[in-house]
Symmetry: C2
Subunit: 530 residues, 2 copies
């Protein structure tokens, strides 16, 4: 009754998969160039191992990003040990050290779209060396190093002689969390950022508010969360929470792009911002229901100016996500004032014109704050004039996304792919495979067009997801997207990916992350008998 | 980008669902008869509330099942309180007490198929009374009482004046866990038993061994787990673990039916039981692979006699599950000794005859140990002669299960339904609805046939499930099956069920169970800001 087709096939499959299980050393996502000498390994003794800056490094002690990463990875590597060694004292009798050399001077404050993430790792019997142009590349290399370290049956740690030259295929490798349909406690967000870093993902797209709830605590408009959050005390993100998330992300080389989606998806804004939403009508009278943001009032733009000025300050990344998707016209259509405005503007019956009118003003406003923006594909589809550096987020599955990728890049815009990566959509079996098989550049277009694809984003919408099931639903499935966006396009072998992803998932368990299994089997050390 | 069809429909839906959210007091599964007086409620003060035995109760202090349940439910009710009151001291100034009266003398050792689970609950302003024929019914009533207690905004506990007369529609309400495809730590099993009791489920079907691993530590054949478990130290169930599970279940009125599935699904038995499995051949030579249990050797039956004698002793329930599903004939067909035996027995080319030959001997053996058995439907399909009291477990989805239910009961056997309740099969959205809509007696048959349906069982096979995702995948989805099997067949209103199940899921969260959300929303008290 295993319900997976014929028994013979099933048996063969799990036997095969079982045989694949073996000791670690594999890396996820697969680096661009790896050479390993399995016969030649160095032993790591926790108390005598440390991370340090190379003499020629342009960045040294005092750079929080690396100082803290050293501490973090020491703990991740030697989880069984209580604490890192007292470096200075033990160092006299030291054995080995991973020396990190950053070539570009400066401990950068925040990662950005142009951050350099390449690195080289050279592990031999007498030296461990990690070189990178920037601290962000060094972070990626530290993660790789931590995955190379294996543990023998007798409990000793070792690492094989290895040479790695690595860099990401795409510069934008994102993950969306939705904190409106269900509130996610800060702890769950921080843990997700940890696992993103293990996967070398580098953008946290925070879909922070939406119709169901408004958990963002605004300094300018405290009523928005006071009246729009599920609970104004327990289900909100205070300014301090937001800072905590941004700092946790920064230390892991992850950008935070918040989304304040308008003019649709704003129902929860209504109670805290009277007059902001369009009153819907039944015949000649307001029905009491509300629709999208009211685009015909000056007060709307005054409100947005203040809110987005705040958001532009709170979130340091150059980009904001401005949404713009799924605007529903029924309510606008029912409202007589909207209709007389439409007439006055000469929009006829085309409500996309009205939508564009709103979005245009919003984008200009955000531009004036010195920010760039990402928008959902409808903004492009509706012909809104956007800045040439706008990023169009392709998400719709109704039209094949390959067509949209071709269209968007043909028009000269940068494209971000999410359509095949809605990981909230689940199905029985190994559905990570579908996400893994995607090839983002497989569409009809010139090489100039392909160069406009900045990357992609796995989305975990929150209709059916909260802190109870987020982690096992996200990991290791989102790892499939992470490898597709980091590794070379030739890395497509499903058996090899299965082996490495199953191994990586066991590493995640070892790091305390409740990542679900890919298939039948077990991990060493997954349980201790208590 | 919520991906659930039109926005308007989506909005309406969540608004409607949101409106449904409200204070507790609902019961899951729905009792047979309930009358509530919402205007009339009693306050419960934790330090002045206790459970006690009524004077006329035929069972009193010293009955572990109830003594421990009193303690457990006190803690569940007043989770925020550190510990139960010192009963004797506080009692002088006591306010209220739930008095339990069991009419049938005797604190029964173990629940069984004929256990009486009915109860009556009468909550008025001056007395709380729970009466039941047996301690098992009293347990069900305690669970109902615990769900009736609400908490006001000021933190005080209250219960409305309520009359309930309740009993289960089906006597067998089971849940299967698979500890072979992935090992589940004992802690995960015990927690599952807790949640089963909250759902009034009463049979834990422990699919303890299968092809991938053999975690059961046998006293007679220690090599089975020594060589067949994923890890013979960490991934096994010791005799003590098994006792712990059985006792934990007993105290909650839950029977434990272990399954040792043969002759197929036994690959993991091979390494620890040389000669037990059929050697497969390629041409005239053994291929090195093994198939099902070898049914032509006396040694096989000697082995099974010892193993099943042990199992019959270790597990106190009258029933064992003997499996018998998905026997693959390829290996038997390849083996020359099997074929000469087939000839000798006059079986021709019909390997189901050989399968039946084996099963028949196994069933007779287990009968001789004074046990009854449950078997998967293939045993019935293949025409094996089984005892009249055999339970046929209907699981196949290839043929409509309604036909099989009709066939099995027509032949006079008792039927157990699982086909529509393979909860390991997941899909996007509210898939609890499909499980909920099932009507087990909706098949062509006489009322005598319908009476042979003893109940059903939710199955959580382990291909993709281990301790990382078991709880959110199981709960509250298995609750849909629990209500279908407990409540009256007229309880089918999906809106009402949604409301109560969402409320029940919040109660589970409050009890520390990571049950996943049904849809958009939140629970009061789901997070505390730390």
């Amino acid at each position: 009754m295993i319900g997976t087709g014929s028994m013979a096939g099933g048996l063969l499959m799990w036997l095969w998969l079982w045989l694949l299980a073996g000791p670690g050393g594999a890396v996820w996502p697969q680096p661009q160039h790896v050479r390993v000498w399995p016969g030649s390994s160095s032993r790591l003794v926790p108390a005598r191992f440390r991370f340090g800056y190379a003499r020629d490094s342009a960045v040294g002690p005092g750079c929080a990003v690396l100082d803290q990463a050293f501490l973090r990875y020491w703990r991740l590597l030697f989880a069984a040990q209580r604490r890192p060694p007292e470096y200075e004292q033990l160092w006299e009798m030291s054995c080995n050290e991973l020396l990190v050399s950053v070539t570009k001077p400066g401990c950068e404050d925040y990662p950005n779209m142009d951050s350099e993430e390449s690195y080289k790792l050279s592990i031999s019997e007498d030296s461990f060396l990690l070189t990178a142009d920037s601290v962000w590349g060094a972070l990626r290399g530290l993660e790789t190093f931590s995955q190379l370290v294996g543990r023998a049956e007798d409990g000793t740690y070792y690492v094989n002689k290895t040479d790695i030259v690595d860099f990401p295929r795409f510069r934008y490798r994102g993950l969306l969390l939705d904190t409106s349909r269900h509130y996610l406690p800060v702890k769950a967000i921080l843990e997700t950022l940890d696992v993103m870093a293990y996967n070398k993902l580098n953008v946290f797209h925070w879909h922070i508010v939406d119709d169901p709830s408004f958990p963002y605590e605004s300094a300018a408009f405290p009523d928005l969360s006071e009246k729009g959050a599920y609970n104004p005390i327990t289900h909100v993100y205070t300014p301090n929470d937001v800072k905590l998330v941004i700092e946790h992300a920064r230390l892991r080389g992850i950008r935070v792009i918040p989304e304040f989606d308008t003019p649709g998806h704003t129902l929860s804004w209504g109670p805290g911002a009277p007059g902001l939403l369009t009153p819907c009508y039944i015949g000649s009278k307001p029905s009491g229901a509300y629709g999208p943001v009211n685009p015909i009032l000056n007060s709307t733009y005054q409100f947005m100016a203040v809110l987005f000025r705040e958001v532009s300050t709170v979130f340091p990344d150059f980009y904001l996500h401005l949404g713009g998707d799924e605007v529903e016209f029924t309510c606008w259509r029912s409202n007589p004032e909207i209709n007389s405005f439409m007439k006055q503007m000469g929009f006829g019956q085309d409500y996309t014109e009205l939508e564009s009118f709103y979005i245009q003003r919003l984008l200009d406003m955000v531009s004036s704050y010195g920010k760039g923006y990402v928008v959902w594909q409808e903004v492009f589809d509706n012909g809104v004039k956007v800045k040439p550096d706008t990023i169009i987020h392709v998400w719709k599955e109704s039209v094949p996304y390959q067509h949209k990728m071709a269209q968007v890049t043909k028009a000269g815009y940068r494209a971000l792919l999410s359509a095949p990566w809605y990981l909230n959509h689940i199905s029985y079996g190994q559905d990570w495979l579908a996400a893994y098989k995607v090839e983002p550049l497989q569409f009809a277009g010139s090489s100039e067009q392909k160069a406009l694809v900045i990357g992609g984003e796995a989305c975990m919408w929150g209709e059916y997801v909260d802190a109870t099931n987020l982690t096992p639903r996200l990991w290791p499935r989102a790892g499939a997207v992470a490898e597709r966006l980091w590794s070379n396009e030739t890395v497509r072998d499903l058996q090899d990916a299965y082996y490495r992803l199953a191994d990586f998932r066991c590493k995640l368990l070892g790091r305390g992350i409740q990542a679900e299994p890919l298939f039948v089997g077990y991990c060493d050390h997954e349980y201790s008998r208590s």
